[in-house]
Symmetry: C2
Subunit: 171 residues, 2 copies
């Protein structure tokens, strides 16, 4: 019985050795298969997102739809909870899909008009098809005018509806 | 026999009618479930892509890696064949993954340095971590200096290696 046990453990060691020897170091680097990055970044996989601000402005003008720009960071907890509320809100998702050009960014643009009261995340700015940033459409926080929290979805929805009433540009 | 045939065709018409009647117009709109858009757009799903030029420049400077910018269009056949060759070339994918910051764009940026001889697709530009566009790194076509074709992958690889030899910025 003892011999059998010893034999088994020797066998186990051999199996372990051969399996680690059979694994060529070079062909199995640390990196596993990556999941392709999405443009939505979890803010609504079924929506069609612009990639860049230039592209979003082009679409906004040519489709005559307001633009919604979401600034966020992947590892910011406030961004994460807002993202979850935004992605799960069917009314917001539907309106965004049908009536808006949408863009989410994890880096600031060079356009200072998109940070009327500073660069922070999360913040949401609307841009009129006339290419005017709607600094008048704000959330409920005086120190961060364009910030929203997960329980502000009703306000965000009504702000989206405000953004759909275009500015009359005077000639 | 004729009656049976007529009965069958009446039945078929009824089945067709009822199935088209049973399809409520409102709950089955034309749009089916969309596939989330990826940042790679098929140029290498396993690579990590920057979203915008600003982001790519930031990464290039902070990681001290050259930037490769690919301009293309989804429905341009030359872009499609180049994309296939690029995505399938293991040497290019590996070098791009390890040594480059990469960005693919379907819209032009506002930076004119990225179109030294005009805006056309497909074209590939390299940018030094010092934020200088490497207009000296060109393909083999005199009328479109930054264009590549599927059988230019060796040249593209050697151009990538050239881009890895950084410019010495004079002080």
């Amino acid at each position: 019985m003892k011999m059998l046990k010893e034999l088994l453990s020797v066998l186990l060691v051999l199996v372990t050795l051969s399996s680690s020897m059979g694994k060529p170091e070079k062909t199995t680097p640390k990196k596993e298969k990556r999941i392709p990055q999405t443009l939505s970044r979890g803010w609504g996989d079924q929506l069609i997102w612009a990639q860049t601000y230039e592209e979003a402005l082009f679409w906004s003008r040519s489709k005559n739809k307001p633009l919604m720009v979401i600034f966020h960071l992947e590892d910011c907890p406030h961004s994460q909870t807002l993202k979850k509320a935004f992605a799960e809100d069917k009314d917001i998702q539907k309106l965004a899909d049908e009536e808006f050009v949408i863009l989410n960014l994890v880096y600031e643009t060079t356009d200072k008009h998109l940070s009327p009261d500073g660069q922070y995340v999360p913040r949401i700015l609307f841009v009129d098809p006339s290419m005017t940033v709607r600094a008048d459409i704000t959330g409920r926080y005086a120190n961060r005018l364009y910030a929203y929290e997960p329980n502000d979805m009703k306000l965000l929805l009504s702000n989206m509806q405000r953004a759909m009433k275009f500015l009359k540009t005077e000639l």
